[in-house]
């Protein structure tokens, strides 16, 4: 009897369960599912031919290429940084460690527009280093290096914040054993540490890449919107949309939406299959 009572009291009545599930699903359908469906519906509004034409058009292809180029530079840069940062944070105890972790997370709390602005203030024509760069004939703002820098800034913490809790949780005993047995530092890293963190690393790279390819605000500020030259895919979407070329805008947007869906699926599969090997404290 008491067991019954407690079980019944811990479980919500059926009407309440139904009401809450319906509320949650309606909210998610309205706010998440509907916008996603709208992207594909609008893209295919004038048929597959118009959709395809928008994707193979010259400026669209240039935008796709540029997006890939930016990701190819910025993702590996943050990958190397993330591994180095998590190694020194997780394997050693030193003063100022918490401050370092806070600073690594800092770019997440800065508006994307400000992330772009700071590079314009530094490298732009009227910026602090502008005259020097002009004298050297180097252009960073309104050119690819600026896009890469702004993208590195906004995706800065992704890999590090995934690896730090994971490596802290795993400890250093396996590495210490390898070193005692005579392995060098690099051998220990490649043969012991890397296999232990590979799924967490992949997870971080996945999220980093999705943001790198989809970043809008920061890239918009440093790009100068030069068609076919400094337009990434999200910027191309904006230009097409502002020209009332909705089908083309949504066609390019649908490619980015597919990238987001692939990222979500891969992320879910990783969490599902290797949940125990990923950081348990992912969402603090």
């Amino acid at each position: 009897m008491p067991a019954d009572r407690s079980a019944a009291a811990l479980r919500d009545p059926a009407w309440m369960r139904g009401l809450l599930i319906a509320t949650a699903l309606a909210f998610l359908a309205l706010f998440l599912l509907l916008p996603l469906v709208a992207v594909f519906a609008e893209a295919l509004r004038r048929g597959v031919a118009a959709y395809w034409a928008a994707l193979v058009e010259e400026d669209a292809v240039a935008a796709i290429k540029l997006t890939l180029i930016v990701a190819v530079f910025s993702v590996p840069a943050n990958l190397v940084f993330g591994v180095a940062a998590s190694w020194c944070v997780a394997k050693f105890d030193f003063r100022g460690k918490n401050l370092l972790i806070t600073l690594i997370d800092l770019p997440f709390s800065v508006s994307p527009v400000i992330s772009g602005l700071i590079y314009v203030l530094l490298f732009g024509l009227n910026g602090l280093m502008g005259p020097f760069l002009k004298a050297q004939g180097i252009q960073i703002i309104f050119a690819v290096p600026g896009l890469v820098l702004a993208t590195i800034f906004v995706t800065f913490p992704f890999v590090a914040r995934e690896l730090i809790p994971l490596m802290q949780e795993q400890g250093s005993e396996e590495e210490e054993a390898a070193l005692v047995l005579g392995a060098s530092g690099w051998q220990t890293f490649w043969r012991v540490t890397l296999p232990n963190i590979k799924w967490g690393l992949l997870y971080g790279v996945l999220l980093c890449n999705a943001r790198a390819m989809g970043e809008f605000g920061a890239v918009s500020v440093v790009s100068g919107h030069i068609r076919g030259y400094t337009n990434t895919m999200p910027l191309h979407v904006e230009i097409l949309y502002n020209e009332y070329n909705f089908v083309a805008a949504f066609a390019v947007a649908s490619v980015l939406a597919m990238l987001a869906l692939v990222t979500l699926v891969a992320k879910t599969v990783l969490e599902w299959r290797f949940g125990a090997e990923l950081a348990a404290t992912r969402h603090k």
Binding site: L20, L100, S109, I114, L121, G214, S220, P234, V237, H283
Partner: protein, 295 residues
Amino acid sequence: MVAASSSDTAFPRAGGAVTSILKKPSVIPGFGLTLGFTLTYLGLIVLLPLAALVVKAGGLGWFGFWNAVFTPRVWAAFQVSFGLSLVGAAINAVFGFVVAWVLVRYSFPGKRLVDALVDLPFALPTAVAGIALSALYAPNGWVGKPLNELFGFKVAFTPIGIAIALTFVGLPFVVRTVQPILQDLPPEEEEAAVSLGATRGQTFWRVVFPAVLPALVTGFALSFARGVGEYGSVIFIAGNMPGLTEILPLLIVIKLEQYDYAGAAAVGTAMLLVSFVMLLILNILQHWMRSRHAR
């Protein structure tokens, strides 16, 4: 490999005395290499450019800074950005909590799919979300048209549209901070409350809710902070009328396009300062709640 082998052998003898003051001894190599790289990269990519922002804004002097920030247009944008971010975060706190509750406590078909979908705003580029929401809520859109025709209610190009976009981008923050806390809540506490004669409602408000509240505040704060800085998903649906639906990040972009670098830096610095102070207040509030709950 060359660098590694040299640092492996030379590092403990050459750098040992210096680093031992800073760090505890360890047999694991690579402290100097990884910390040096981390600090250099952090300094060049994050700290130096952020310093440029403060230097540029500081170059205006107090008077110039005041004049750049306290104009009616900037003040209105402050109210729009911070006010509507609070609205979005509040909507997320309520519905995000319901979503987290449903995902943790109940089972229903397609639950895993719904769980994965919650992260969509993290993965979907903001510009894509922006044009999709704008198309949906425009006067001839799927949602905007019925709202307009039945109730004469306009969403796109009004502050309500901005609040909807900010709700979209902030949603996962609340769900993903509350969810693990709900998951880890020991059932014994609720059972104890029930065995002592509490009703379901009392158990929820006196046992479950206080335990989850700090996480809910964290989620609220993250959602709010994201909303204040958000640009891509807002500008398409906002209408961008100065003084009415113009957000702060857009104002910074406009100032940059007019080559008013110092003005843009001043507004950016002010925005960072206000967000920082608000997050500090929320952190203190959260700390206070946690210690109260622990008692």
